[in-house]
Symmetry: C2
Subunit: 335 residues, 2 copies
Amino acid sequence: MSRSKPTIDDVARVAGVSRATASRVINNAPGASGPLRARVREAVAELGYRPNEAARALASGRPRVVDVIAVSCNLPGGWLGSNPYYSRVLAGMMPLLEGTGAQLRVHALSHETAAETLDEIAAGVTLGAVLSDITPPLAARFHRLCRRVVSLVPTAATVPAMVADNIGGAYTAVTQLHRLGRRRIAAIHGPAISTCAADRRIGHLRAVQRLGLAEISADGAFTREGGYHALQRLLELHPDLDAVFVACDLMAAGVVQALTAGGRRVPEDVSVIGFDDSVAAVCANPPLTTMRLPVEEMAAAAVRLLLHGDVPPGHRELFPAELVLRHSTGRLTAA
Amino acid sequence: MSRSKPTIDDVARVAGVSRATASRVINNAPGASGPLRARVREAVAELGYRPNEAARALASGRPRVVDVIAVSCNLPGGWLGSNPYYSRVLAGMMPLLEGTGAQLRVHALSHETAAETLDEIAAGVTLGAVLSDITPPLAARFHRLCRRVVSLVPTAATVPAMVADNIGGAYTAVTQLHRLGRRRIAAIHGPAISTCAADRRIGHLRAVQRLGLAEISADGAFTREGGYHALQRLLELHPDLDAVFVACDLMAAGVVQALTAGGRRVPEDVSVIGFDDSVAAVCANPPLTTMRLPVEEMAAAAVRLLLHGDVPPGHRELFPAELVLRHSTGRLTAA
DNA sequence: GCTTCCTGTGAGAGCGCTCTCGCCCGTATC
DNA sequence: GATACGGGCGAGAGCGCTCTCACAGGAAGC
């Protein structure tokens, strides 16, 4: 009689079956057949019944939530706000979740509160967690508490991960600059705390050694300002540089601005290549040649793994970075 | 004995109290005192007890989830992936939620599936929903089903909203161009389906009429490419334009690129002003003067309202857009 | 010394669902 | 015709928690 939401018992009563049968029909489970199925469905439609997720979770113990966790390795807060990376992660996960009825819970944690909140998530019911940004120690700790985790950043070896080939990407980028005839190639790296940044640094170093180039580099904190100032410092020490490999697009946008401000033309005087293929790359002027990471695909693969079942510890898939040619490196044929 | 998670009964047993008292202590409810509180807390710590959220939600009927809903008004999927707006929304909400134990659920819906999923959310338990992007009809429908909603975009009048002053912002932007001495001011608008775009169009029109300027405009779909091509069309028809008001930064970045490609200097020949103060504004070269929307503040205000209690229908707060001066309009003193 | 009124505590009834178990009945088997 | 089997269905026991209510025991008032 009350205006409160119909429960499965109401459905069962209206359909003239037991609650168990109603449940079977609602969950598409076997063991109910033909006419009863139809009657139950009819009752559901008539009452506008929607299962109560909390009760389901409690009774079944089977969670229907996927957690996305970001512990900003960088600027507190600022990083999340200014970086479209997370949007790409979410966009990659959403379509897979749509059919399953699983929901997406987002946690943006600061370093101070991270450990406590991670424990809480691990203790709770979750289909699994996707770590979109985290430090190796925190990731390892979380993995110890909750086996159903996939990281999107290179991290502790035990933690299953869908990672981009940052090393290979950086190597490719530097090689590309070399192919264009550039020989005074500088690099602007990200903060050491980020494992992505560390990998890109490794890739750059390998390429430099392989190609027999001088190692010229500066650090830039993954921000536009960081890139701008790093390039200014670099330009003072090495006024003859003719190319810059920048560890992220945001910094690269700053680099292009600094080059323009310093009277250098891009790409005629200096070639610039970024990393990530983010909005920053597209919005820079000239638009940036960059290494595209298949973030959506990685996120989707992570969700697929979690949805599918157990996540083997140490499982690791490498996603190649792809060179996206735009104007900041000039024409490829000029090589 | 089992390795399974401790329940509140375990805590009660270890502490030597009843389940009710344990619950009181855990929830900081009154009615338990002094030594018992200490004993319970001790037991909690000893067992590593964490309350089961599902059971809590079921027993109390009090939801601890805030939903963020985006029904992309624009490109299916592409919008979410490339727009840092959502990251800003999430960043604004996160700090408020951290203390409350409430969690954030994210839904990125396509137009096709939106209605069904919205019904589901409305029927479920939620502290409330924040609509970060939606069409008025869908918003109105959702509001009818679930009173606890706050929209971040201007929408149906009944739906409570924390909205940016898009009309005023656009008006300010055009006025600013006028103050710089520009008289052939063009506008590039967003898609009509977006209420934000519609409001910015209104603001532009008002300013143009007020200032006695010619109305020159084109449409650009809120994408960089859209901005690029819109400007090319505009330039063909009005080669003498000396300023462009662009309804979003992403398009504005494209505009700057098109101007550069067309041999115009920014800001010497043409001033450009964007909207949103997104990464795109900062990464463009030259960096864009733009209208900053306090997205984080709006999102935070929305959460505060939901957390606080009932949301009065029709409640509306207007957040002013703030002019952020960068290089794309030249020096203000040159006015 | 009796009633009255607190305040602190515990017992126990659900919240809405899932899932195991056993019953019933129809069919196959001897 | 008796026994065995199996599939469809319902009864009912939880899942882990919250919250109402009854009760015990001490302080206060007459």
